[in-house]
Symmetry: C2
Subunit: 175 residues, 2 copies
């Protein structure tokens, strides 16, 4: 299994729709707009809220919006919020089990961090530094260079349309 789960993928894609909009969106609307499972997204956003990445408001006009500017939300913030504490490597300190030690590993064998664990921690730090160097705003900008203006107009229309419908009875189907 990949280290970073699809929760991270779904969460970031949905967060991108909150960049540059003043309208709050429910997790159901975000899921619908992105075309992913609403129940899945409903589990992700409370974690993002707890980390301050989004803020939530109640009521007919309520929903989620970004909790701080997108350039202050790093990929590392999002990954940590969604995945929680999840080490790259889980050292079991098996260095102490060497047959020569019997039941009493010597002090030198216990001292400091295991040299193997140390290598893994450095690799994890390199990964985390890379994730910390990229913000939600960076990726929104990359996406903005790729998508035509019409797409953003259509997204804005979709969001306003859904926000406008809240609290109203469902539209009658035309058929």
């Amino acid at each position: 299994m990949a280290h970073l789960t699809s929760s991270v993928e779904y969460g970031i894609h949905c967060l991108l729709f909150l960049v540059g909009t003043e309208t709050s969106m429910s997790s159901r609307e975000l899921a619908e707009l992105q075309g992913v499972s609403p129940s899945f997204v409903a589990k992700i956003f409370p974690k993002l809220e707890k980390a301050g990445i989004v803020s939530a408001s109640e009521g007919v006009r309520g929903g989620y919006r970004l909790g701080r500017p997108a350039d202050r939300i790093s990929f590392l913030d999002i990954v940590d919020a969604i995945e929680g504490e999840k080490p790259l490597f889980d050292c079991q300190n098996i260095r102490l089990r060497c047959a020569l030690f019997g039941d009493k590993p010597p002090a030198w064998a216990k001292a400091g961090r295991c040299a193997i664990h140390d290598v893994m921690v450095k690799a994890e730090q390199a990964m985390r530094a890379s994730l910390a160097s990229q913000s939600l705003a960076d990726v929104a900008a990359t996406f903005g260079r790729k998508a035509p203006d019409q797409f953003f107009a259509d997204v804005g229309g979709w969001i306003d349309d859904h926000a406008g419908r809240r609290g109203k009875p469902p539209r009658e189907s035309p058929g």
Copy 2:
């Protein structure tokens, strides 16, 4: 679950006992010396052999030895050999599922790699570069500065003793 499993931890600890010895060791001996499960180690070493990290020989004096000098065996080599292809992030290309696209995502949305995936690939490359920069020889040297000379003498004695016993009937227990 951690990204790198305990197979990596067990494998590297056992490999360290092959650094600087000319004597081949069976996976059972390596497991016994390190104090870990022999059946677990028996599954790891064929993978290391396939990757050329160890070479195996048959017969009473047979077993595993390093397949190349320890300074040419990186942590990345070992991780890749044991874990196989295991991406940090498994992009499902959900960018194509946006509700506005219907069943026909436009060409611009499909072009190139997803910007989110791109961030994850960079983080993975940073982690891999860090693992590639550390060799088995580096960690053996770190360990060598920590452990007393007597430890290495004892390890050598243990290995020679076990190699000498091969093919002979088990010693009678003293009791």
